[in-house]
Amino acid sequence: MAANPQPAARLQWFFGAIALPSGWRVGVGPMIAATVLTLIVLSALFAPLLAPHDPLAMDALQRLKGPSDTYPLGTDAYGRDLMSRVLTGGQISLFIGIGAAIVSVVIGLLIGLVSGFFRVADAIIMRLMDSLMAIPSILLAIALVALNGPSIWSVMGAITIPEIPRVVRLVRSVVLSAREEPYVEAAMALGSSMPKILWQHLMPNTLAPLIVQGTYICASAILTEAILSFLGAGVSTEIPTWGNIMAEGRVYFQIKPSLIFWPGLMLSLCILSINLLGDTARDLLDPRLKKREG
């Protein structure tokens, strides 16, 4: 789901602070989050090595079994190994999350820069973006996926498109306020060309909020993927993702909760970590806060 950028807010998890080389102080919470996230990413990357079974191999006689030596987390309704599926599922989920974040940030950055600086383009672009924003993202996503078929690409596209206007707005607002800064006027007075000012003076201002926004997009994309799967409009079930493992497992929620629990746990831990890191990044990157801290 879309998380919006929020200005200054600080989340310092525990008082025990650890000093980083650059003098940044990071709470223990974000450290744990970073560790968890690293572990999840690694486990997804090395899923083929870690998974005890082929995540697609079915055994009709071993449906919905509990944990055993062969199947550490038990099996799903097709008799596939849950653990292998959850591990492998991370690959696509993370791919969708990171992919959606990168694509929407890059596209949004380009549009936002142009829109923030050129008044004429701005009016048109912002109307377009308003319209894109007005279409509820989940509905748009379901529609796109249902109409284009449930490939990873349509899911990613469906998640990315509604995020773009938010990024554009963010970038634009940064550019709008930054271009009033005297140093931008100074650059103009020094004869720097518009593209140069845009890219060298204004763009760097957007990076910090974009990194933060990117983490939120990443988290919300992973979550949206799960919801699309739940609504029957996700990635093909043959490719395991946390979302469709849960979607398939939801029927058995009361009988075999582990089918939802494990992917759900991974998903929630992952999103929780990303959000936490996003919050931390926002605090570290927000110059206003630094100033207030003295």
Partner: protein, 501 residues
Amino acid sequence: EGKTITAVMHSGLRVLDPIITTAHITRNHGYMIYDVLIAVDENFKPQPQMADWTVSDDGLTYTFTLRDGLKFHDGAPVTAADAVASLKRWGKRDSGGQLIFDVTDSLEAGDDKTIVWKLKSPFGPLLDIVGKQSAVPPFIMPERVANTPAEEAITGYTGSGPFVFVQDEFQPGVSVTYKKFADYVPRNEPASWMAGGKKAMVDEVKWVTMPDAQTSINALLSGEIDYLEQVQIDLLPLLESSEDVSVETRDALGYQTMGRLNFKHPPFDNKKIRQAALMALSQEDVLGTLIGNPDYYKVCGAIFGCGTPLGDETGADTLISGGDTEGAKKLLEEAGYDNTPIVLMQPTDVISLAPQPVVAAQALRNAGFNVDMQAMDWQTLVTRRASQAKPAEGGWNVFFTNWMVPEISSPLISAMLNGRGDDAWFGWPKDDKIEELRAAFVAADTPEKQKEVASEIQKHTMDEVLYIPLGQYLMPQARSNKLTNMIPSPVPVFWNIEKAD
């Protein structure tokens, strides 16, 4: 304050025209509000319902006589003209109906009560088809409604059946309400499947849709609903501990699940490769994954279903014995399979259809097929299976579906046994032999002769791989113990049911 039965049906009612669609939920709706001329009993025998009939000795003239007291919900009497118009509209849509109308000389109302149907040549199974309970039974509507073109959906919902459709409370896909039709005159015979007296014992029946299987089970357990038409077998344990709820199999025949290959495009235009595909598959694997609990499925190689008069398992040995991967490999090799990818469509949103493709894909790959399984929702699949394009260009090679056993229990009804090429059912086999056999079946005038022909058809179907039967399964229903006397028919009907306080 009357008695109301709240039932969760297998899907939401959206289409209200029971002639235009084959959707089961619409058929069930049809049985609520419409009546039929004749109907089958539990022995598959047509019995009078709205009408009695006589057949001329040459088998060319059928005369139906409407019984007294029949009335539409708007109060108008049911006349022969209504029945004729309804039958004619039905004949344009239903495949069985089309067969009869191919040989029909005339169909007219003799007077207010008699319908005279004259044929050009004898058509043995006419009564079976007119009385069939599924895949579009000829429901009788008022003439004005029945005059709607067969391509357009009707807009008036006046029937003469035991329940009245409450237009104001209808929410497509959510809920539909039926009120008891006070003026309905049931037959005197006891109810037996679709035949016999249809006595409404409750004042109101409400069908609600629940998109979530667990929600509906929980709702049944907490007494919020009375009846659940289908319970997913894996979820049965949730219901077992409850004393207020019974789980039972209403319909002992159940469903047949099957695969269909596309005859128009390589590689399945090659008979050997079709045979290889059949050989690769194992019913046990499919059913085990689809249903799991062996109490609720049956390995069955009969294309007409096991437990039906025509059922016969000839030629299905590999299917019912666990598949023959090696044999399939050999056949593929002989056929010179060039590794053309086969597009296998998988609907992800229908629980009873999602596992078959997954299991099949695995089995086909094991046999050496290059499988391209494409996931989609059911509606996309429905759209796409109608496409005759090349598989790589939006067409397809294989899909799976389920039929209720009564819908495939005879070569006249079973859509997959049509061999008329482009006019045939999706997959479009051009197979003159099967058409000959079907004609022979129509011409067969005794059950024994029919059985003989049916057995030929079974053999031929398996050899040509017109379709691949993948076994039979049952869908249990669950009801509150307050409900009693439900008719154990394939179509869930709400007459006869009583509800305790």
